[in-house]
């Protein structure tokens, strides 16, 4: 996987395509990877809305014609939508983060104690606050099986209109060095602007597209 060949498509005038990649590169183009990509970020596969067509992927046929070559054909669709989707950015405040690690015997218990301390001290000031233990439940928000980690990392994240409060997340986590469970280490903190995106529709005739060529 160190040298993945990026996929490309060779498209014929009749609307069939061959998905492939440069020979002798890493990676794999097979029915599995092509099926995953066909459904990526799709909701209703009968009506995948794009600016040019409302596509229907339930008529697509896939065939492996050679190693790392998949033939795609049979896709269909309906008339393109009357409106275009527009994504609008808005300033959503500041994201503050802080992390600290614990290792060895009792690491998880110490991390859980840190989590309690951080919630108690920070939740009065934040509508949006999360404290997770990386290594336990930061990714699926729960565990689907039981396993005991050797080391864990506590991560606190909060969003606030005022940067000063977002910075407080990191300060509280750093404070755990001296005002928290034993042997916490490797604390880091970070604040970024939080830009939210919401989507809405715009009438097609309000959008004028143009292409500019820059020559050197």
């Amino acid at each position: 996987m160190k040298q993945l060949g990026f996929p490309y498509a060779i498209i014929s005038p009749v609307g069939e395509g061959i998905i492939t990649k440069v020979q002798d590169t890493g990676g794999l183009i097979d029915l599995r990877t092509v099926k995953e990509q066909l459904l990526y970020e799709v909701h209703n596969p009968r009506e995948y809305i794009t600016p040019d067509v409302v596509a229907d992927f339930t008529t697509v046929q896939l065939e492996e014609i050679k190693e790392n070559q998949i033939l795609v054909k049979g896709g269909s669709g309906k008339e393109r939508p009357h409106s275009l989707k527009v994504s609008v950015g808005y300033h959503a405040g500041y994201l503050g983060e802080g992390e600290i690690s614990y290792a060895g015997t009792g690491a998880l218990e110490r991390a859980q104690l840190s989590k309690e301390i951080l919630y108690e001290r920070l939740s009065p000031h934040f509508d949006h606050l999360r404290v997770d233990i990386i290594g336990i439940s930061s990714i699926h928000r729960k565990q689907f099986n039981e396993s005991e980690p050797y080391e864990v990392r506590v991560r606190a994240a909060g969003r606030h209109r005022q940067k000063m409060y977002a910075e407080r997340i990191g300060h509280e986590v750093e404070s755990l060095y001296l005002n928290g469970p034993a042997a916490g280490g490797g604390a880091r903190k970070h604040v970024t602007d939080s830009i939210g995106i919401i989507s809405t529709l715009i009438a097609r005739n309000k959008v004028k597209s143009k292409v500019e060529f820059l020559e050197t």
Binding site: L31, Y40, T58, H140, N145, R159, I197
Partner: protein, 101 residues
Amino acid sequence: MKLYEIAHSRAGDKGNIVNLSLIPFKEKDYDYLYHNVTAAVVKEHLKDIVEGEVVRYELANIRAFNFVCYDSLLGGVTTSLALDAHGKCLSSALLELEVEK
């Protein structure tokens, strides 16, 4: 047996919605998944992650399923506080589902 032994999945995100494809490694297992991995089963399995409904779409043409899970990204990728804001790791959550064999 877990679902990851007989199928693969990829997570995609749009706003506060995650879509999880479910594709059997062997096409003959499509019928088994059709009857045993329904939208209700997936909703129950992911109930601590997905707050809204789960809708299943079937693509018999490529022997695959697409589960659309509403309200599952803590408000949406751009303002989520989760470490995995896009929910790209949620495909492995789906594949933890216990199945008979």
